[in-house]
Symmetry: C2
Subunit: 357 residues, 2 copies
């Protein structure tokens, strides 16, 4: 005969006390005598009872102690991005104080991703830069639980932790202009599902015009255009991913074209690092022969050679901000969505005036 599973009730019977008392031994120590509590805990250890079952407790309390995190694409895709890792770290830290863990799910292209979201036992959802139309977004909303967004998507009534992407992008473009650059290549991560990487038609609308990258791109092109830069002197390449390798390939497309830009403005540091790699491979001195700008101020750009000039945003802090919004929501407190975080230009070693001919 299989040994009976040890539950709180079994333990209570064994000890001849009520289940309520055992429960109190774990949850409200002040509700029973220290002696009895000790006796209960000791017997629990003997019988191998590890404490109240978290799921049953979750059902009863209406809280399981987990916050779902919806990341873009796949776990590895999300975590190959130093920015995402840092944001997540801040989020985890903030939530673990209240005893919440993070349950990861990817908004992947696979069918059924939304079922996983629907069936996940969580107390709330945080979406990190997920495309607005991905089916998991609807699934997470339908759960009827607290929701917090990081970056994207923009959802009515859902607090979002964002930054001033347009302002930052403008500052980046202005920095290059002020150095004297008039021919500037732009590197962006994917704006269109299934689009092959390559030169972007300046008039093709993005899939999601309010996405982070589309916003940055629009601000950059508008700024350059306002300064009199011609369309053909501001080629835009849509890279295949938001990753260093993709940035390297994109840079090739940018620099091996007819009109060679004197600067590359990458819409993320990852992409800029890829451009830096390209430059190193082709013995292009940075910033001598080519200026490079990033965006985000992610850690790898601070120790590259040269270190990246970039637009800084508070990364980890945004994670903690999302966490504290979620905590408030979970508590039932009213929340006011925070204003977009400010960004600021960080001038390091990867930009300089263009070389004179």
């Amino acid at each position: 005969m299989a040994a009976e599973r040890v539950t709180l009730k079994v333990l209570a019977e064994d000890l001849g006390v009520s289940p309520a008392t055992v429960s109190n031994a774990y949850n409200r120590p002040d509700q029973l005598s220290e002696a009895l509590r000790m006796r209960i805990l000791a017997r629990a250890a003997e019988l191998g009872f590890a404490g109240p079952d978290p799921v049953a407790r979750g059902l009863r309390r209406g809280r399981v102690g987990a916050v779902g995190v919806l990341v873009d694409q796949s776990i590895s895709y999300a975590f190959s991005d130093p920015v995402a890792v840092l944001v997540l770290d801040g989020l985890a830290e903030e939530l673990q104080d209240d005893g919440f863990g993070l349950l990861l799910h990817a908004a992947s292209a696979q069918a059924g991703a939304e079922q996983l979201v629907r069936a996940a036992a969580v107390d709330g959802w945080v979406m990190m830069t997920v495309p607005a139309r991905h089916p998991t977004v609807a699934a997470a909303r339908a759960a009827g639980r607290p929701l917090v967004v990081l970056d994207e998507p923009t959802l009515p009534g859902v607090p979002a932790v964002t930054i001033d992407d347009a302002g930052g992008a403008r500052a980046a473009a202005e920095h290059l202009l002020s150095l004297g650059h008039r021919s500037i290549g732009v590197l962006t991560s994917p704006l269109h599902a299934d689009a092959p990487p390559g030169r972007l038609d300046p008039h093709a609308p993005a899939d999601a015009p309010d996405s982070v990258m589309a916003t940055r791109l629009a601000a950059v092109t508008a700024t350059l255009r306002a300064a009199g830069v011609q369309e053909q002197a501001m080629p835009v390449v849509e890279c295949s991913a938001s990753a260093q390798a993709a940035g390297r390939e994109g840079t090739a497309l940018l620099l091996e074209g007819p009109l060679r830009p004197t600067a590359v403005l990458a819409l993320s540091d990852q992409l800029a690092l890829g451009a830096l790699e390209y430059a190193r491979e082709h013995r292009l001195s940075v910033p001598g022969a080519l200026s490079l700008m990033g965006f985000d101020d992610a850690p790898p750009g601070r120790t590259s050679h040269p270190p990246l000039t970039t637009v800084a945003q508070p990364i980890r802090e945004r994670g903690t901000a999302a966490g504290s919004l979620m905590r408030a929501l979970l508590r039932g407190d009213p929340v006011t969505p925070p204003p977009p975080y400010a960004t600021h230009l960080v001038i390091r070693g990867s930009t300089a005036p263009p070389r004179q001919h």
Copy 2:
């Protein structure tokens, strides 16, 4: 009056059918007519019922659809390591086929980490390179649920997915010896809690002698010693973390000592990349002036300049292996722990014979 929360039972009453039938509409479509099922689903959508509550279902079924993952230190520490990211990706992929998500918890130094583990609603635990004596390990074991280990700790009766660390380390040392190196610096990640980074006393025992790093180190030193390399010609530096920056600092300690090694053997690619950074900063040509070896064959080492000579292990595959062990355990199938995965030397551009004087 607050609107009554829509549960399966409420929906059933509204429709005049039994809760069982509504449940079947979601879980066993073949148990009711298509027409009725459609009617139920339609009404559910109208009332905003997003499907059976995952927690209640979890209690009833004895399964919540989440596997806990215990990572070392902190979320960001774990995910700054490309190897961990890839392993996790494999794990997630394998598990999501069965509808499981990953619930992340860190074996952090903070008090209470074990409480979080104890209270986590999961169906099993995967520990990734967690120090054997960390309290969360005991907590996860006490949960009485399926357990799978990646790398460490070694626990009796618990299947572990490991690699042949000793064999790989030996191969690395032999490669350098065969090139003619006789003065080889070794870089390891922390072996002792709270030890300041620095030169390692060759006779100080590691905190955990069976840990991955201690095993690699022992194999390296034994191999070098067997080849007649003197103790002082094989300095070992214990870096402050398993990260690139720590590798850079460790390399400084190694090369700025009295006897300058002609090669650096790093026990992880991350550390080797840090050494490479040091070399670049100090204009030491690699492999001309200094040979560098890594371990793991993580992606960043494949695209560095020069690309790293390293010891390859199947990374993502180990994640899927751990996932499939967990699936089997969850199903109640018997599992046989897999033998350690083989490693193999990958010679790329960072090693060469020492320069002649």
